[in-house]
């Protein structure tokens, strides 16, 4: 049996890597991907608790997180397409103005 703290530590490390990626990256696609990584690490933590406590609420929450992630990816990528069409770049620093 693997100790629960191993899973939690892995989740923590993955979340940190994701958070650092969001800060360090400059293109919006990589930032969205890093946000997905953060959501995944949270999912891992939820499934771990759910599995060790033998209580399914955590897994239901994971289901909702996935729905949110899918919606976020859809809208986020639509914004990326719009940004790329108007400015020919995906650099977020280039998109700091509120008008075209």
């Amino acid at each position: 049996m693997v100790p629960m703290s191993w899973y939690l530590a892995l989740g923590a490390v993955l979340f940190t890597i994701g958070a650092v990626s969001v800060i360090v990256k400059r293109d919006i696609l990589s930032m969205l991907l890093a946000i997905e990584l953060m959501l995944n690490s949270v999912n891992l933590t939820l499934v771990t608790f759910s599995s060790y406590f033998r209580e399914l609420s955590g897994q239901i929450l994971v289901f909702f997180v996935m729905v949110v992630a899918a919606a976020e990816a859809g809208v986020g990528l639509a914004i990326v397409v719009l940004l790329f069409r108007n400015r020919q770049t995906v650099d977020v620093d280039q998109a700091s103005m509120l008008k075209l």
Binding site: A9, S51, G74, V81
Partner: protein, 162 residues
């Protein structure tokens, strides 16, 4: 045996995550994320969350990352060039931020050194998850359909050509 599998999957997940951090090209970042997700699927199976494991592959790998790859390839997006570095000094703040964040997390994880005693008897089979989803969590479940509808309309309105 189980611990060996954990080390393998965790190692793959960490390699994918670090690769995501280091790669400049978003295409490779997407593929690294895919690697991490595959490893997490293995971990979910070890945690007996079978439904979540399969859903993870279908939704994340089968839909979300494919969508990312599609956009990256369609617009042929390469890595962002370096000269746009206007606030480059800010990224050195990421390192202390990371150290503080991981410190806090590990401080909390320390509380769970002992495995907890189970409070229920449920295992993540599809039937059990479905039963719970359609009884205790029915309202949130119905509300997700509103969320998805809003996301669909938003994506269509944003991405359509004038």
């Amino acid at each position: 045996m189980e611990q060996l599998f954990f080390v393998i999957f965790a190692g793959i997940a960490l390699i994918g995550a670090v690769n995501l951090l280091l790669r400049r090209n978003p295409l490779y970042a997407a593929l690294s994320l895919l690697t991490t997700m595959a490893a997490l699927t293995g971990l979910y199976i070890m945690l007996k969350a079978y439904f979540i494991a399969v859903i993870q592959v279908i939704i994340y790998a089968g839909a979300i990352v494919v969508l990312f790859l599609f956009v990256i390839m369609l617009f042929n997006i390469r890595a962002v060039e370096r000269q746009t570095d206007r606030r480059g000094y800010l990224k050195w703040l990421a390192l202390p931020f990371a150290i503080i964040l991981i410190g806090q997390f590990l401080y909390i994880v320390r509380l769970f050194e002992e495995n907890p005693t189970p409070v229920g008897t449920e295992i993540g089979f599809t039937e059990a998850v479905g039963r719970k989803l359609f009884t205790a969590y029915l309202l949130p479940f119905e509300l997700t359909s509103v969320l998805i509808l809003a996301a669909i309309i938003g994506a269509v309105v944003l991405a359509q050509k004038e």
